[in-house]
């Protein structure tokens, strides 16, 4: 491969960065060659984001040097980073929703004619940037009307319009469908053919092995290995990432509980436009998996059961009593817990401490006449936080500064502080690392063994198949089919979920 001989465009030597209490990066050596795809992998908190932030000029390194084309440079602002040919495409895009695609691509370097923007030239340039990617996106459409995949292409085109030589892509496939990922890979190939170096940051190892030329593994802020893809296997990378071998992905499930009296019984649940006559029973000690695409009604079902949303008709019975929930508060009082899909916008109050987040649903039990018993609160949260292996300096640390996996553990702690009889998990392992995933699977199984009823919604098919005793497949607001243990196959589930059956 010619890539192997090419001199690297970007070289990092001994980069270190510490935050109070955490050594985020410890002497990292890293380089990117023109025309290569260099994958950067590691668990949450391994230091990937810090590395990207240093190169994008958002934070300064404490030690080490950065070289571009053999010259030592300083990157102290995003503008400088851009001038050096470095572009970063974050998970959350930096686009202005109201502006058009073309305006976004040329944002910040609009061609001028005198004092006014030269609209024609702007369109020509934007179109050229998109043409280099081999894609077509409506240039006059406001960005908010475009799909996530199209928005991502605009981000990439934006990077090209400023002549980026290295593009960092942080979890670029997180919000894409399978086809769109193929499309993204085609674009990456076009980029590398033009000599652009791509740093691909992802949790999805299949993708990493499909696209990367080299792979670098970070763990706890240290460089563990940089190797050619051909010299590594997926198992090896996982072992390097977590620092231990993970034999089985999923824990062994306990036997099905007796199907006598259901713990939860949902009958004819209907919400106009979202749920259509949903019927489901869940038994104490059972893990009931729900598969389905986004918009199939899976989240609406969990929210309706737990009192977060009203429903138009139907009934929910828990432990023999029909529930009439007027809000989440009633659901919690009845023994229901909803672990929401998006921990940052729905699960946590980021500015508050671990302690304050965990006790929030249960403050009634930590207060006399409205006054909070602080020592009791501290003891309870500290104990639970240790049991769940939440990695933090103390329970007073703001959850904003925790890694994704640890944030998710805080969300779980919220709902485990007092034993719920039924817990609804919506995407319990989204965006967290392999090690934390395994811990969460073990936790779900141990809850089921203790007699808690579990409903688990997941987009990851292996997760649903590996973790559920029974599986309901949702499509168009209905449970279209229910599988007993061992009956479901990936093919049938996908067919039902996509409505192809």
């Amino acid at each position: 491969m010619p890539i192997a001989q090419a001199a690297p465009y970007l070289v990092l030597r001994g980069i270190s960065k510490s935050y109070p209490g955490v050594r985020a990066l410890d002497g990292i050596d890293f380089d990117v060659r023109p025309g290569e795809v260099h994958a950067l992998v590691g668990e949450n908190g391994a230091g990937k984001s810090t590395l990207v932030n240093i190169l994008s000029g958002a934070v300064a390194a404490d030690a080490g040097s950065i070289e571009i084309d053999g010259r030592t440079v300083t990157v102290s602002s995003p503008r400088q980073s851009e001038a050096l040919g470095i572009a970063v495409i974050h998970q959350e895009f930096n686009l202005v929703p109201q502006l058009t695609a073309a305006e976004n691509i040329e944002l910040g370097h609009e061609p001028l004619r005198g004092m006014v923007i030269d609209t024609r030239e702007l369109h020509v340039r934007a179109a050229a940037a998109l043409a280099r990617l081999g894609v077509t996106v409506p240039l006059d459409a406001p960005v908010r009307t475009l799909s996530v995949a199209q928005q991502q292409m605009i981000e990439i085109a934006k990077a090209l319009s400023v002549d980026a030589r290295i593009i960092f892509m942080d979890e670029p496939s997180a919000a894409l469908t399978g086809q769109e990922v193929d499309r993204l890979f085609a674009i990456i190939k076009t980029l590398t053919a033009h000599g652009v170096g791509v740093v691909y940051i992802s949790h999805r190892l299949e993708e990493v092995f499909a696209i990367a030329d080299r792979i670098t593994v970070l763990r706890d802020g240290r460089l563990i290995a940089t190797k050619e893809r051909a010299d590594m296997t997926s198992d090896e990378v996982i072992t390097l990432m977590v620092g231990r071998a993970l034999e089985a992905h999923f824990p062994t499930l306990p036997p099905d509980p007796p199907h006598t009296t259901p713990l939860l019984s949902v009958r004819g649940l209907t919400t106009r436009g979202r749920l259509q006559d949903v019927n489901v029973d869940v038994y104490a000690g059972e893990i009931y998996g729900i598969a389905g695409l986004v918009g199939s009604g899976r989240t609406s079902l969990l929210r309706a059961i737990c009192g977060a949303d009203r429903y138009d008709s139907g009934s929910v019975t828990l432990g023999g009593a029909v529930l009439h929930l007027r809000g989440p508060h009633d659901g919690i009082a009845a023994g229901l817990a909803l672990v929401t899909e998006d921990r940052k916008s729905q699960g946590l109050i980021l500015g508050m401490s671990i302690r304050e987040n965990v006790t929030l649903p249960h403050l009634e039990d930590f207060a006399t006449l409205g006054v909070i018993d602080r020592p009791k609160e501290t003891t309870a949260v500290a104990t639970l936080s240790a049991e769940l292996h939440v990695r933090s300096r103390s329970i007073e640390q703001a959850v904003r500064s925790l890694s994704g996996g640890n944030q998710q553990k805080v969300v779980l702690a919220k709902w485990l502080l007092e034993r719920a009889t039924l817990i609804c998990f919506d995407e319990p392992t989204r965006g967290i690392d392999v090690g934390a995933k395994a811990e969460i699977y073990d936790l779900i199984v141990s809850l089921a063994k203790g007699g808690t009823g579990i409903i688990m919604v997941s987009s990851e098919l292996p997760e649903v198949l590996g973790m559920s005793m029974r599986i309901g497949v949702m499509h168009g607001g209905r449970i279209v089919r229910e599988f007993a243990r061992g009956e479901a196959t990936p093919e049938t589930v996908i067919r039902l979920a996509t409505g192809a059956a």
Binding site: I332, G347, E439
Partner: protein
């Protein structure tokens, strides 16, 4: 859990020792920082005191400043609750006028001194609280911006105050009521002052009670939680409707109490009173370090903010700064204070 092994005794001890050390270190740094701050402040106050030939820190003047800030500090206390939920209350200045003239009306109609005070206080607090409820209901029920609902109330309450009095002040002739606004509680001429003004005592009691509510009670925790992330708070079972409505009611009711102090001091209910007070109260809150974005702040901070603003005005008066220039200085100080606070926050919480 995955690593289901219980932590070993040694590892726990080592962890606890490290944590204890870190905590001790943090306490030491905090103590040093606090000592440096107090020393710096003492020097600054000493210099300012010298500039005013000792008038600034004279006990009589200090008490005077506290009395002057009492109305604003009480308004700002209510404002703090609202702002921590990411709201705003623009109506408090006008509510001072409305509750003031209504109280004066009640006092005029009731001949019994004691009953008059009780009735007037009830009217002031409940009209203020009711206005707060009217501010809050559209916010919690229809998600209207509080800026709009309280702006509307600001206009309505001011207009109603003028309508009620026909534009003229209503005199108050009730010694007990006036005592609340301008009386002193004797301290036997200790500290070289004749007594502590009643408004100062009421202000300190409100600040203390409010601080306790915010920091120690469930209600206070919910106020912060809603300001931090309303949806997460709702899904955690917090009664967002009740808590948010309550902060507007608290703010309105405290405006009624502030009005009582002001009307008692002026011996009259004046429809023009309280103009611009809503902005003064917001200034005290932000100078005190509370974020307008919600979820962060403290009532002690607000009290310090009100105190700083009051001291600044007082100092400028002692130094004979003319009144137009005073507002220029005050504006600049507010900007500088909030900017400094932001820089400090960035410096200490990187990562």
């Amino acid at each position: 859990m995955a690593g289901a092994l219980p932590p070993t005794a040694q590892s726990v001890e080592a962890g606890e020792a490290a944590a204890a050390q870190a905590a001790a270190r943090a306490r030491r740094t905090a103590a040093i920082r606090a000592a440096a701050l107090i020393a710096g402040l003492a020097v600054l106050l000493g210099i300012l005191n010298a500039l005013t030939h000792g008038d600034f820190l004279a006990p009589g003047n200090v008490v005077n400043v506290l009395r002057q800030i009492s109305v604003n500090a009480i308004l700002a206390s209510g404002q703090t609750f609202v702002i921590i939920t990411a709201g705003i209350d623009l109506s408090v200045g006008s509510l001072i006028a409305l509750t003031g003239v209504l109280m004066a009306g009640v006092l005029g109609a009731e001949s019994s001194i004691a009953l008059g005070v009780i009735l007037a206080t009830l009217v002031g607090v409940s009209v203020g609280g009711a206005a707060g409820a009217i501010n809050g209901l559209p916010v919690v029920r229809f998600n209207l911006p509080p800026f709009i609902t309280t702006l509307a109330m600001m206009l309505m309450a001011r207009g109603a105050a003028f309508l009620y009095t026909g534009g003229k002040p209503i005199e108050i002739d009730n010694p007990a009521f006036n005592y609340i606004g301008s009386g002193l509680i004797g301290v036997g001429h200790a500290f070289g002052i004749p007594g502590v003004p009643v408004p100062v005592i009421i202000m300190l009691a409100i600040v203390a009670a409010g601080h306790f509510m915010l920091t120690r009670t469930r209600f206070g925790r919910y106020v912060y939680a809603i300001g931090g992330n309303e949806e997460a708070a709702r899904l955690s079972g917090v009664n967002v409707f009740a808590v948010k409505l309550s902060v507007y009611i608290i703010s309105g009711a405290l405006a009624g109490i502030a009005s009582l102090l002001l009307a008692g001091r002026l011996n009259s209910g004046i429809p023009q009173s309280g103009q611009g007070y809503e902005l003064q109260s917001i200034a005290a809150v932000v100078v005190g370090g509370t974020s307008l974005a919600g979820g962060r702040g403290s009532l002690v901070g607000t009290f310090v903010g009100a105190l700083l603003i009051g001291m600044l005005y007082n100092l400028m008066n002692l130094l004979n700064v003319q009144s137009y220039a005073q507002d220029v200085v005050l504006g600049a100080v507010i900007l500088a204070a909030v900017l400094l606070d932001e820089l400090r926050r960035r410096y200490f919480t990187s990562g």
